[in-house]
């Protein structure tokens, strides 16, 4: 087995969930690396969109901003924010990647405040385009480190919608039918969501990780998929592409 770090594992696991011919709204960092890796392996026709306007660039390096000029390098279109978000709202975008300071068992995400909103303990940037992507794209993916302060029973503030209060909640709130969280990829495991309860469940464990370890780093009760596999580790070829082509300066994978 090749030698790799957790970031490489997370990026690889994310990349494998992006099928060829799908479309994805990405941000900077790991999501962008995952999309690039997917394009250079099994999904050459993956369509990459950046919220500020970039469509299908041939990314020469990792962008620092989702609106910097790398996001339109040899792109098919340099458009605007409404163009991208409305493409999502029309139902043309399959995946998005999100993060947050807190996530709960329904995949609701908080990137606004810790503590009371009016008198926050910690103020974060807010939604940005996260709520938009989470509302409009078909499937939400989250890449995040797993720890008990982040995986909480109830987020202090729902910035971006997961399954809200559970089954039927998104539809009842008026969100587009058939959308919602899809995968949560951490340094320990890949989690999906139980179809019945819409609650987070462990689907595969990274090499050497036990379910109990994942549960220890989670403040709510995790469900288990009918079968819990071992997450397939990155192949030598995936690692080569990731290290040589996707992120040669190790901005992301070097951390």
């Amino acid at each position: 087995m090749a030698d790799y770090n957790v970031m490489e594992m997370m990026i690889t696991a994310a990349a494998r969930n992006l099928e060829d011919g799908a479309s994805v709204g990405v941000g900077t960092g790991a999501p962008c690396a995952a999309a690039m890796l997917a394009q250079k392996t099994h999904a050459p026709n993956l369509v990459v969109l950046f919220e500020a306007g970039g469509v299908s660039p041939q990314l020469p390096t990792m962008p620092i901003s989702v609106g910097d000029s790398r996001t339109t390098y040899k792109a098919l279109m340099a458009s605007g924010m409404c163009e991208i978000m409305e493409t999502c709202q029309r139902g043309m975008v399959d995946y998005c990647f999100l993060g947050g300071a807190q996530i709960d068992k329904f995949g609701n995400l908080n990137s606004t405040v810790i503590g009371d909103w009016a008198h926050p303990k910690v103020r974060f940037p807010g939604s940005g385009g996260a709520n938009d992507f989470a509302s409009f794209c078909w499937k939400i993916m989250v890449i995040t480190p797993q720890d008990a302060r982040r995986f909480v029973e109830k987020v202090d503030f729902i910035t971006s919608p997961g399954y809200l209060g559970g089954p039927g909640s998104r539809e009842a709130a008026g969100l587009a039918a058939g959308t919602g969280p899809f995968k949560v990829i951490t340094d320990l495991a890949v989690m999906g969501f139980d179809e019945e309860t819409k609650q987070m469940r462990v689907e595969s464990l990274h090499h050497g990780v036990t379910f109990d370890q994942v549960q220890e780093n989670t403040s709510f009760q995790l469900l288990k998929a009918p079968e819990i596999a071992e997450t397939l580790p990155p192949t030598a070829e995936e690692l080569r592409i990731l290290r040589e082509e996707v992120d040669p300066h190790k901005y992301i994978i070097g951390r």
Binding site: N45, A75, C82, R90, G178
Partner: protein, 329 residues
Amino acid sequence: MYKIIAEGTGPLFMDPDPDAARAFFRTKPRALAPKVMKVSQAVERFVHDGEYLAIGGFGANRIPTAICHEILRQNKKNLAFAGHTSTHDFQILAAGEAFDRCDIAYIIGLEARGLSAHARRYMESGKVESCEWTNYAMACRLKAAAMGVSFVPARNVLGTDTFIRSAAKIVECPFTGKQFVLFPALWPDVSAIHVHESDIYGNCRLKGISIADLELARASKHLIITCERLVHNDEIRSDPSATVIPYFLVDAVCEVPFGSYPGNMPYEYYSDEVHLREWLNVEKDEEQFREFLDKYIYSVKDFTQYLELCGGIQRINELRAQEHLIEVE
């Protein structure tokens, strides 16, 4: 506080439900695949009897004439049509009695050139169910669809019969208490737009006014592009700011040089006023008009043959000179 104040009585030919549209767009292919085909193939594959059709351009400017002709040759029927700033395209489709439902903003007329006798007869015949709108109202309907929502508010049509014969609704704004009309989203089944340049995937550029074509491209479930010329994908990627329609909206790309003839194509060729005048004149006599249509459309193989009938390269060169304001001896 927040209530429906009035509702238009006109028919809504298409469902304004964004979830229904999303269910379709979820399945629309996103991969960068070549889509070049003949006009006849594009119409065969993407224009079906009974569907809702929209045509890009404004009046006789930057219109996909070849698609309109081919719809007649393939004898498409019972279409619903977006009569949005529609002049020569409307005239052609009315000649073939291709539609039996029409959203009306501007029809029958050819602006300063006068009215189409046949199109008027057809619209007065009782064969066409219709609904009244305005140019901006139709643009708003396409904009709502392009945005992925079921309506867009505006401040026109209020107080008029145009509203009463529309399918719009007037509501009270929950922020200001003022009245706004809401225009329902329109997702056409299929549209055709003529542009200056496209690559084989459907990444398009155009010059001059865009009219409502950018909204139309995004609203349409299927989209046929005709272009003056194909350009290489490298050319598109060399200036992504110039792309106005991304390939994933497009289903067919047909290279049709002089494709807006007899209409005007900005920066390329001016409209052929002689030929358009002939259309208007010959329409006055139904028998003559049938012969005219047979000569210029039904007996014609393709758009190139039509151009030859109309004077070929020499005529095109004259119109190119006119476009560029060059006096040719």
